[in-house]
């Protein structure tokens, strides 16, 4: 892999304040995601941050100049639901750091609350999946746990760096739970048993917080989750950390809203296949939804109302929507998802924001991410054209102001086999590592 590059990036990042790297991306059509597009604008990056955006920006001497005339310049795309950095090969359990499983490799159905599990320590900055993803214009992603009723805590990462501390933007970014049919096994089936268990744990977390000292003296009743789990739920109960609930059936989404109101939780709905059917409830409760657009099949009895127009209908009702690919290895299909949202009724600007600004807002990092505004982290992509079009090429990717070479294992294999002859099959070809 790009060890040379990564080392260089690490050095630069380690000494970030001192590395006065200045980059000027000049002459492109700048789609800031916040305001109106700027034709022939310049994006100035200094020390990993956006220093200026606009037409007629003075470029400091010594700046690296990128000619973006005829190109589109946008914020890096923001993917809200992945296991990036947590898994290498899907079927290899030994590379799965996103799900707690039992010794047989099955989900731990009997221990369905893993609130204390934060995926952060398992992040692999050298994951081969990361370069494959970022060279397609995705710069920031939520890496989340999965598989349980309460699966644990996810993190927000930039797709750059060789240490976890370098990649991580926010940890934890949210507590991930599920009210989907996929966790029925963990509670013995019924939906009401899912909420019964969730209420039990949340009540216990409250009770534990009120009786910490007694708990430490072993002078409390038994709690239904471990001390670590109960402690991890405190920011969720305080409304500081969102509870991200996978739910698909309209009634389940309404149930999640009720539960969140009951406990004063900050709720995000993930998946939300039938969310459009309860769009008014979501809008009234100001609950955002993370939507996979290419989802129009009644694949289960909780998704009978699946439609490609989900995102558009939600937005029309005033619900905040982020678009996700719902993929890890193919997270780069995010722009295809957004493009299809446009094809099925979402205005282009809204679809574009649903993969840039809105996820930054939903995850509470819009002060630093999501748009090309002065002071924000310089995650910037230069495209040959409309980023949502599949024939558009990624030309430059900047993450925290660092230009990322458009190289991944996938492009290196391509180049290794660009010519078929015996001499080039086993040895590197010129130009490839």
């Amino acid at each position: 892999m790009n060890r040379i590059f990564l080392s260089a990036a690490a050095l630069a990042l380690a000494a970030a304040p001192a590395a006065a790297q200045t980059v000027a991306i000049e002459g492109g059509d700048v789609y800031t995601a916040a305001g109106t597009p700027i034709r022939g604008g310049t994006v100035l990056i200094v020390n990993g941050r956006i220093a200026a955006v606009g037409a007629g920006i003075a470029v400091p001497a010594g700046a690296v100049r990128i000619d973006a005339r005829g190109k589109w310049v946008t914020p890096g795309l923001f993917e809200s639901s992945t296991e990036l950095g947590l898994r290498e090969v899907e079927q290899l359990d030994e590379t799965n750091d996103a799900e707690i499983q039992d010794v047989t490799g099955q989900r731990r159905d009997n221990d369905q609350v893993q609130a204390a599990f934060n995926v952060s320590d398992g992040l692999n900055p050298r994951s081969m999946v990361i370069p494959v993803t970022r060279i397609m214009g995705i710069t920031t992603a939520v890496a989340r746990p999965a598989g349980s009723l309460i699966s644990g805590q996810g993190v927000l990462i930039d797709l750059l760096g060789n240490r976890v501390e370098q990649m991580e933007v926010v940890s934890p970014i949210g507590m991930f739970a599920s009210m989907s049919e996929n966790v029925r096994g963990s509670v013995g089936g019924p939906r009401a048993a899912v909420t019964m268990r969730l209420r039990e744990v949340l009540d216990d977390a409250r009770a534990w917080a009120r009786n910490r000292e007694a708990f430490e003296r072993n002078a409390t009743r038994e709690f239904s989750a471990s001390r670590a789990d109960l402690e991890a739920l405190q920011p969720v109960l305080a409304g500081r950390e969102p509870l991200v609930v996978e739910a698909h059936r309209a009634a389940d989404i309404q149930l999640a809203i009720r539960l969140a109101r009951e406990y004063g939780l900050k709720l995000i709905i993930s998946g939300g296949t039938e969310a459009w059917m309860v769009a008014e409830d979501l809008a009234a409760a100001r609950v955002p939804v993370i939507v996979k657009v290419l989802n129009n099949l009644p694949q289960s009895f909780e998704s009978l109302g699946a439609t490609y127009e989900n995102a558009a209908r939600l937005r029309r009702a005033g619900v905040q929507v982020a678009i996700t690919s719902g993929e890890t290895w193919k997270a780069y299909t995010l722009r295809q998802e957004a493009g299809n949202a446009v094809a099925y009724g979402l205005p282009w600007t809204e679809a574009f924001r649903a993969v840039t600004l809105y996820p930054a807002q939903i995850w509470g990092v819009a002060d630093r991410y999501g748009s090309l505004d002065v002071g924000k982290v310089a995650n910037v992509v230069v495209w040959s054209g409309d980023p949502l079009e599949l024939l558009t090429r990624v030309e430059h990717v900047f993450i925290r102001g660092q230009e990322v070479p458009l190289v991944s294992r996938e492009t290196q294999l391509r180049d290794r086999y660009r010519v078929l002859n015996d001499a080039t099959r086993a040895y590197s070809q010129p130009g490839t590592p």
Binding site: E88, L294, Q336, E389, R393, L413, R414
Partner: protein, 497 residues
């Protein structure tokens, strides 16, 4: 399964009939696994039997009549009227792009294609100005109907995972015509698809080629005259499924399993050919074996091999095995590493049914490159975008677009007019129906898609779909938007989506 008739008598236009059988009492001799010495009998016997009257020792006895193919297609085109689509950009998939071109459909066939064509009086005129017109989309790899939506266990009918060799099963006996996925695929422009068994087994069973039309029965969807396919699978799946159930548990075990089956099939084929040559006396008719009938059909060239395989080295093994037993592989499926052996694919005229960008789900899917389709295409291989997915099948045009772009990144320029063949003409060839569909050429079935814009734009949608000249989907007309029984009454008043 009762009284089945011989699948070997299924005729295709190009492939002469070689074997024969007739309806037989419900006796299904299970696998005659006598491993005789390999009788390499490629093409032996076929030329002598054919449809000629029997003569020789058995001539005194009336020859056993050749039955029609079992489970015959009852497909009939829906009503159509002579239709002229004009004003659109016509991508014929036969080498031409005609701006502002015209496509005339009469009696279910393409009657004329060109800048201006002569249309009969009273023809229905469809204005496609600003839109694109292409052949119907064809998917070589679908499990619609056999893994239907909703994906509940009761609908899991795609893998007869009870034995590594289930060449005896036929996908059409699992297809649920009410799978809502069919209608979604239609809205994505798909007019024809091959429904395959899954990849749990070395020999998964026969595929079936379907027209994407609403029907109460599978027979009503079966593409008339399409040859059968045989699903084969190498690599991780069979050994994962059978590794703890008696094997094969290794790749070499898989190869041994394949080869033993082909040896049996050669013997079986010779037995029937001999009976055919010697006058087809009813008293001497060999025992039927459904499994070996299918494999013998492959050896006779009547059934096309569709081979699930990811890794380059494994594809090379499968190619050599085909040489050993004298059959051909029509298409590899998935072929994540096809680019590494694209020269071998080109040499043997094996199509590559590939994804644009799937990878990472298992070891054998690790060495992907987004340039796979473009590299394979450039090598002169028939490149195909396939789905293996009920959502992907709806957007094969977008899969092609991604692959075009990945090719351009690698300096391989694939024109949009070439890429349109990835989802039309090339899959038609892989399914053995390229004489009927896959291009907009006079005489072909009038399977036509009108797109709202360039099909390689993510913003384009399918406006109209014609199958055999009949308007089967119209985005502007709710009455032309089929829904399956399953979807009836789910959301009264909200059903539209």
């Amino acid at each position: 399964m009762g009284s089945l008739q011989s699948a070997l008598s299924f005729r295709t236009r190009r492939q002469p009939l070689c074997g024969a059988a007739f309806s037989f009492p419900s006796q299904e001799p299970k696998q005659m696994k006598r491993a005789l010495s390999a009788l390499v009998l490629v093409a032996a016997g076929c030329a002598h039997a054919g449809a000629k009257p029997a003569s020789g020792p058995g001539a005194a006895q009336a020859p056993v009549p050749r039955p029609a193919a079992p489970f015959p297609s009852t497909y009939r085109p829906f009503p159509s009227e002579p239709t002229l689509i004009r004003g659109g950009t016509v991508m014929t998939a036969a080498g031409q792009v005609i701006a502002g071109g015209e496509v005339l459909m009469v009696d279910g066939k393409i009657a004329a294609v060109g800048q201006h064509v002569t249309a009969p009086a009273g023809v229905r005129v469809v204005d496609a100005t600003g839109r694109y017109v292409t052949p119907g989309v064809i998917d070589t790899h679908s499990h619609l109907g056999v893994y239907a939506s909703p994906g509940v266990q009761a609908h899991s009918d795609g893998n007869e995972a009870t034995s590594p060799n289930t060449a005896e099963v036929w996908a059409e006996h699992s297809v649920w015509p009410q799978d809502p996925g069919f209608t979604r695929a239609l809205e994505g422009g798909v007019t024809t698809m091959q429904i395959l068994p899954g990849s749990a087994n070395l020999f998964g069973g026969r595929s079936v080629v379907l027209k994407n039309v609403p029907s109460r029965t599978v027979q009503g969807m079966k593409f008339p005259g399409a040859p059968y396919g045989l699903k084969m699978a190498c690599g991780e799946n069979p050994k994962r499924v059978y590794g703890s159930r008696g094997g094969p548990s290794t790749r070499m075990g898989e190869m041994a399993g394949f080869r033993a089956a082909w040896i049996n099939a050669q013997e079986y084929r010779e037995k029937w050919d001999r009976w055919d040559r010697e006058g087809r006396e009813a008293s001497k008719i060999p025992d039927r074996d459904l499994e070996l009938e299918t494999l013998a059909g492959v050896l006779r060239g009547e059934i096309l091999v569709h081979n699930h395989c990811y890794r380059a080295d494994e594809m090379a093994q499968m190619i050599d095995m085909a040489h050993e037993f004298g059959y051909r592989i029509r298409s590899f499926h998935h072929g994540v590493e096809a680019y590494k052996i694209r020269d071998l694919l080109a040499r043997d005229s094996i199509a590559g049914s590939l994804w644009a960008d799937w990878w990472g789900f298992k070891m054998e899917a690790l060495d992907f490159t987004r340039a796979n389709l473009a590299l394979v295409h450039q090598a002169g291989v028939r490149a195909i975008v396939h789905s293996d997915d009920p959502t992907g099948i709806q957007k094969l045009n977008q899969e092609a677009a991604k692959a075009i772009e990945a090719g351009r990144e690698a300096g391989i320029e694939v024109s949009e007019n070439e890429a349109i063949r990835w989802m039309t003409a090339n899959p038609a060839w892989a399914l053995g129906i390229d004489d009927k569909v896959g291009t907009l050429e006079p005489g072909k079935n009038a399977d036509v898609v009108v797109w709202s814009g360039n099909p390689f734009s993510v913003y384009s949608r399918v406006d109209r779909v014609y199958i055999d000249g009949a308007l089967m989907f119209d985005r502007a007309d709710p009455r032309r938007q089929p829904r399956t029984d399953f979807e009836v009454g789910l959301f009264p008043g909200e059903a539209q989506r």
